[in-house]
Symmetry: C2
Subunit: 481 residues, 2 copies
Amino acid sequence: MQASSSAADGHLYEQVMAEMAALIEAGTLRQGDRLPSVRRLSRQRGVSVATVVQAYLGLEDRGLVEARPQSGHYVRARRAPLPPEPRLPRPTTTACKVSVRSVAARVYSASRDPSIVPFGAASPSPELLPTDKLNRILAAIARSAGGAGVAYDPPPGLPALRRQIARRSVDWGCALGPDDIVTTIGAMEALHLCLKAVARRGDTIAIESPTYFGLLQLIESLGIRAVEIPSHPRAGMDLDVLEEALGRHAIKAVLAVPNFSNPLGALMPDEAKERLVAMLARREIPLIEDDIHGDLHFGDVRPRVAKSFDRHGLVMLCSSFSKTLAPGYRVGWVAPGRFRDTVEQLKFAQTVASPTLTQMAVAELLDEGGYDHHLRALRRRLAAQVARVSEAVAEHFPAGTRVARPSGGFVLWVEMPTGVSALDLHDRALDRGISVAPGPLFSAKHRFLHCVRLNCGFPWSDLLDHGVRTLGRLAGEMVGS
Amino acid sequence: MQASSSAADGHLYEQVMAEMAALIEAGTLRQGDRLPSVRRLSRQRGVSVATVVQAYLGLEDRGLVEARPQSGHYVRARRAPLPPEPRLPRPTTTACKVSVRSVAARVYSASRDPSIVPFGAASPSPELLPTDKLNRILAAIARSAGGAGVAYDPPPGLPALRRQIARRSVDWGCALGPDDIVTTIGAMEALHLCLKAVARRGDTIAIESPTYFGLLQLIESLGIRAVEIPSHPRAGMDLDVLEEALGRHAIKAVLAVPNFSNPLGALMPDEAKERLVAMLARREIPLIEDDIHGDLHFGDVRPRVAKSFDRHGLVMLCSSFSKTLAPGYRVGWVAPGRFRDTVEQLKFAQTVASPTLTQMAVAELLDEGGYDHHLRALRRRLAAQVARVSEAVAEHFPAGTRVARPSGGFVLWVEMPTGVSALDLHDRALDRGISVAPGPLFSAKHRFLHCVRLNCGFPWSDLLDHGVRTLGRLAGEMVGS
């Protein structure tokens, strides 16, 4: 449970939630059992009714209990116990040229077709985002902006947006100023600028394994070589293996997603972040940190960024609003540390400027103050959706399947028995109108042959239910064949 | 005069305009002389009143005549004859690494300060653009788009926009289909994608000299080497020199702006375009064609693009709506010929997608049909502005100054006497609140030490008048010192 790890320093309701979750996990409270009434537990524990209500809401979000109208809260039917977690990949000792094929393009083009079950591309459903509010803000700005709306907004980008981002950086353990930030076309341009600032064609960088295929494509397009460092399903990049690799290769940079990596959903503990930053600082190696999922924590506390431990300007922090507000607005940013001037110049050379009006709209929404409220609701929904898909996989996938326990974000990594080819499963599923992201996409060496990543960005529905059942059946047929 | 060169195959009013212009040039009609009344000339020449009105409007636009209310048309006071044109730069025979310094950044940041006289960055005034109309369209779309407005629009980009671009391609001598096109973040991302598709770090490409400093920065950021081919002030890249260079260097691509190059405003004749395309096709060398100013012709006919002569898919045509609709919308595109799949994959790797709503707004404006009307007015305004700045330079700059005769676009290349350092002039002018783009920016070898480029994107005003006077005085002081 997320709750238990943060209960000590978390809120009261988190403690209550952790206690009840432990009772359920231990089997003390079983499927169908009624939980103590809100009023009764409130008296028992000497906490307010509101605290218990929030705790029970949290248990609902995590899929552990369900509320029955006029009756109370009951332990939910968990159709099958969750399978074990995926294994840690073995380290590899060689750098290799990165090459990812056109499967990624098929995953993305499937995401444009609303009739296809959307387990492929990692994208939150627009209905979970403040779509209408943001579009209304943009409309109002466009009507009143006049010439400012059509004029270039040259790098480092819109001051109002950089101010809002800087303001929020306190939550991540940083104290960025507006001038520390350069706005970009989504996080992907931010990562691109960072890579170009610190590495060249033929250079080697270290990355997590498995890692998001978009990053692999970017690295490939730059002709950069990658050493894949195994990533622990819960704790992220294996720093012992990294340290060894730093000794063996001339590594120009490390690219990592410490908070809710993609596809594992791993959360690197703070001590590990600190160790990573120090390890690289000793060698003057830049860390390119992708924090695109950092705001989507299932636990109570917004995790720190590795950059919060940076004393030498060597950490280049990248993020965007694509996962929390609007993928199609393409508003991202980077805090490039000591590489700021280089990044700003490269930004100008590559895309001249980011669109003006979309930056203005995001800045305005952040300024209005509803963003934190939105994030709280979004996190609850995503946690519930990940839990629901996990359960369905447990129920329908063949024996021997393993499932990650993401602690944030909205993707689920599934390791199937060795008989199941993920690439074949992708093809057969797509024939049946279901998109998944097959494991080999997530490795420069095309490892993870038996894994798939499932997008959990959409609310549970009959369509998704049908999708998981079909995937499980197809996988089962491959095991048997 | 533009008119005379296209009169043979142009409209009637062009013929009338050319005749009257010739009378003024020859001194038959002198400063202050009244032109024949519209009705009278109409009877004399046997053409309609509307034709004469249009001819006189054209003469006004070119700064040759002025209308006096209730009185008629008069030959305008031309304060000084235009100085000669700049000279053709000497060919250089070596490739060199491209390096352009931070002066470019100062030129761009000056463009954000409305108190600075805007002769620096090449940007049309928002008041010349359909700013309110476009912003209103965007507002209406944002209000009604719902989830489609916030969702990713993955490469190749918005179908409706690609359809509109394809529809317009007939005007340039092409017959592109929507699937030939990939949308981008402005023309700069288009050029970036093309360069990455066909050249690598350390490779050599051929470019025009002088050439836009943004292109030089882009080439520098990719570690590509450039052979500078001299560009004729009227006819563009010297193809004899290019042909020789192709024999001497392993040139991977040619990057050119055949229609209204920046900074010269040169227009490559159709036969030269055809020769260029054929010359490269024989050697299987791609041509990256930047047509960003193609719609801004001062003459009557929209010039063809070099791609219209492409039989082998080797021409990669890039453009955007940044100069004609909205720089800050960042809507550009590329027709990459045989490199389409590579470009589409690179686009995904670099910026994932272009913003959705701004593409929708531009597509809608193009679909509504007012774009051609807008372009006609914009061209007239820009031609008049270029003429006005040219005259002011003639009047105020020191003897020995040369001025280009751009046939489209909105920048003016000025070659000053050798005593005048353009970089010093830039610094001294900026101290006085005037921005210019100094010549050395426009060459990888920092040639053009005595040249400046003046942006003519803004309507003539006392501020601009003051700006040119001050620049002339500063330059004069340097000649004398």
